[in-house]
């Protein structure tokens, strides 16, 4: 056998990425009971820039449009976002945070910070910066993930990066 010793699967980066996300999500759900992490990302994205259409929001939030549709249905039915057809371009639906949605973000902010504190308790502040930096570099390697292709046509604000 041409046997070079395999690295155990539990030391593989992909496995550890999945496990770290699971752990963080588990902590998150004990601290923040009102929103899932993707839902929080959507609300924060709309807070940072209102009146996005769903495609642009999906790109910003890193959520596939096919995933985003039912996610927004849930947020809309709970009254946290408002969705309306763009009269200028009736293919689009523009989204913005409702007042209860904005209040919710304020309310859960301490819990969000607490969850991060718990999840990253094993890392020093410098290590947290290093982790952030390295995760950004891995995330950029994905050519066509959930929010792909910065096409060559910035229409109404498709600038990225």
């Amino acid at each position: 056998m041409a046997g070079h010793p395999e690295r155990p699967i539990v030391e593989a980066p992909l496995y550890l990425l999945r496990r770290a996300l699971q752990a963080y999500t588990s902590i998150w759900q004990t601290e923040v009971r009102d929103l899932t992490p993707p839902q929080y990302t959507v609300l924060r994205s709309l807070q940072e820039e209102p009146d996005l259409d769903q495609s642009t929001l999906g790109r910003r939030a890193g959520i596939d449009v096919a995933t985003l549709t039912p996610l927004l249905d849930r947020l809309e039915s709970r009254g946290f976002v408002e969705r309306e057809v763009d009269p200028k371009n009736r293919r689009r639906k523009l989204l913005r945070l409702s007042k209860p949605g904005a209040r919710l973000l304020d309310d859960i902010h301490p819990a969000v910070r607490q969850a991060e504190e718990h999840a990253l308790a094993g890392l020093s502040p410098e290590e947290r910066d290093t982790l952030t930096d390295m995760l950004q570099r891995v995330a950029r390697q994905g050519a066509g993930g959930a929010a792909p292709s910065s096409s060559t046509k910035p229409e109404t604000g498709t600038r990225f990066d």
Copy 2:
């Protein structure tokens, strides 16, 4: 007060963890077409230690038993794993890699390495070790994760609508 500048959501570790996993998974799926990452983890776990029951396998592979059942159904129906009731304890079902399953692991090994190379192309070898180490520390923070040993949990009525 209340006016401290928020960090953009796209720099939050939880967001970046999700994005990095998406990117890696996307690369994986272009290189390795035969198995998903969790399926690969299961087969590798059984390769490292055969005749595990599903609970133990779930703990090893970081997959909830409720998720593992249909995942194993798929691997079994494709002939990559064999599942049989433990005659010593008929509650358990013991699992092992079939011959085609072992051959599959050998066959896809180059693609798996290639996917890792692509996904981590932005990181030096030392940085990859650092990332691995930090992800392990984050993963350990998650008490209950996917397959906990058990513990006395008060009550976690986590309900999203």
